[in-house]
């Protein structure tokens, strides 16, 4: 069994209750001295779903991700993640809970004083995994993001795109069922951004990861919605987002498509929620402006 098909330790411990969403926000509000940033946000993320949070800079996308990971507390409302009510959970329990999730930070947030290999191995070392297992899993995770060769390099020696990919490897190393991506393509050139989105795609289609991805780039959302990685061939296949099945794939699909849904934030509220196709065909001016900003 390869790394990609073996259930990871995090999966076995996580509470995924069938019929219940993996992430649920109810009337969440949060604000700072300057005022409320989020004014009553409610949404759900179902197992297997990829939810893309779209919004301009400062619209609160990062805040939503941090609250979902228990890194910040909301001023009002309730948050449930994998069967746990995070709203009033003490930090000690939150630390334990966070072992079941992966978080990819905007600039990577790699530990500067550790090598790439030590960064990716961090969580495994914290859990006292045996050395051989750590070595194997770290190499597999780096192979997944195509950065095996950088095992002994330090983060300052890597490019921005490589740091993001190592950050993704670090978040995915023990196969968490839920991953949060905070603007993974921010500040990167279009080619490198495509590479990052491909890695996210692979996580979705090969590991069955449920994810919440925040971005201000609408291309990222449509990239995730328009392509699928075929487990059979390992190649990217274009999907017609107006229909459920991939273009040119005549074989019947054994399971439903892992959906990619969009949430657009505007002025602290949810402006739009739906499939990529619905946004594409919407006649709303603000959404059309968003779509027009894509190259």
């Amino acid at each position: 069994m390869t790394y990609l098909s073996r259930p990871g330790p995090a999966e076995e411990r996580a509470k995924i209750v069938p019929g219940e969403p993996l992430v649920a926000f109810k009337d969440v509000r949060i604000g700072f001295d300057e005022g409320d940033v989020l004014r009553g946000i409610s949404f759900e993320v179902w197992p297997g779903e990829t939810k893309v949070l779209l919004g301009e800079s400062g619209s609160g996308k990062t805040l939503i991700l941090k609250m979902a990971a228990g890194l910040l507390r909301p001023d009002a409302g309730r948050i449930w993640v994998m069967g746990h009510d995070l709203t009033d959970m003490p930090e000690r329990e939150l630390l334990d809970f966070r072992r079941h999730i992966g978080f990819v930070f905007q600039e990577g947030a790699l530990f500067d004083s550790l090598t790439v290999g030590e960064n990716v191995a961090f969580r495994l070392r914290e859990e006292d995994a045996p050395d051989k297992a750590v070595e194997t899993q770290v190499l597999e995770a780096l192979r997944f993001v195509e950065l095996e060769a950088s095992l002994n390099l330090y983060p300052p020696e890597l490019s921005g795109g490589m740091r993001r990919r190592v950050s993704i490897a670090r978040a995915l190393v023990d196969r968490p069922p839920l991953v949060f991506y905070d603007s993974p393509t921010a500040g990167l050139d279009p080619v490198t951004s495509q590479t990052i989105i491909t890695v996210v795609l692979r996580g979705r289609d090969l590991q069955g990861v449920t994810s919440l991805l925040a971005t201000h780039r609408v291309q990222d959302a449509f990239g995730l919605a328009s392509f699928r990685l075929s487990p059979a061939t390992g190649r990217l296949v274009r999907v017609n987002i107006d229909r459920a099945s991939p273009v040119g794939d005549a074989a019947p699909r054994p399971e439903p498509e892992a959906p990619t849904n969009l949430l657009v934030l505007r002025e602290g509220r949810l402006y739009f929620e739906g499939h990529a196709a619905e946004m594409l065909h919407s006649s709303d001016d603000y959404l059309k402006k968003f779509l027009a900003s894509a190259e």
Partner: protein
């Protein structure tokens, strides 16, 4: 009525400032207590603690040795004339020993370590905060207080007394070298008196103080680093504040500890 609202804002600004300071002291106290509590429950990060002991203890050795040598020397230089006037040059050893062991060794070593290590700790942790590395640590399920603060606290509390012991000895050596060449004081006279004048209470004072100072310096520096706001400017501010506050606290506690310990060992009423 603009005038009234201007007058009203001064008390409220003062009130806000006082509230902020009180919250800061509360926040710091909770963090400091947590760093101690972490020593008694798992997981403990002994590898990180050893690394910090190396950086703080061994790393500060050169500066402590050089500084204390010259402090011992300058003490003899400044007091030699007075002792010679009373024909009691032999007392030089007593004076240098008592001042170094009771007071100058702990205080000056603590200030040196505060300058070197408090700034290093505050800037390292502050940089980690602004680059989201501390949040990343929390997201990976690791408690940053356990992993970052407790090892530094243990390292400083254990290494500072050892550094003070070295400083005391090297200071005496520096004092002796100057006494030998200026006062023609023999080795036997100097060293016998230097050791004989010390009582148990002096040694306790000299070793108890660095434990407290080490705790203050490490916890203040970690607190400033972990509570950084405002990017690189904030890191710079936190570094300066860490050195200033820990140095001032060391000297304030030095005074009160000296009073308490002198009283305990019956040297003062």
């Amino acid at each position: 009525m603009p005038e009234v609202s201007e007058l009203e804002s001064i008390p409220s600004v003062l009130g806000d400032t006082v509230k902020r300071q009180v919250f800061a002291v509360q926040d710091y106290s909770l963090l400091a207590m947590q760093s101690i509590a972490n020593v008694f429950t798992p997981p403990q990060y002994w590898a990180d603690t050893l690394e910090q002991m190396d950086q703080i203890g061994v790393g500060s050795l050169p500066i402590v040795v050089i500084t204390s040598f010259f402090i011992g020397g300058v003490m003899v230089l400044q007091t030699a004339g007075e002792f010679q006037r009373f024909g009691e040059t032999a007392l030089t050893g007593d004076a240098v020993s008592l001042s170094l062991v009771r007071e100058l060794g702990p205080a000056i070593t603590a200030l040196l370590v505060a300058g070197r290590n408090a700034s290093g700790i505050a800037s390292e942790l502050g940089s980690m905060v602004v680059t989201e590395q501390v949040d990343a640590m929390r997201a990976l399920g690791t408690d940053p207080i356990r992993k970052l603060m407790t090892p530094r606290m243990i390292a400083m509390v254990t290494m500072l007394p050892l550094l003070v012991a070295v400083a005391d000895f090297v200071g005496l050596v520096g004092g002796f070298v100057v006494a030998y060449f200026t006062l023609r004081l023999g080795a036997v006279q100097f060293w016998t008196r230097a050791i004989d004048v010390l009582e148990f209470g002096d040694i306790v004072q000299g070793m108890a103080k660095p434990v407290i100072f080490g705790f203050i310096i490490s916890t203040v520096a970690c607190y400033q680093g972990l509570r950084v706001k405002g990017g690189t400017q904030g890191v710079g501010r936190a570094t300066t504040t860490a050195v200033v506050i820990s140095s001032v606290m060391v000297l304030v506690f030095d005074f009160f500890l000296a009073k308490v310990l002198l009283f305990m060992f019956g040297k003062t009423s």
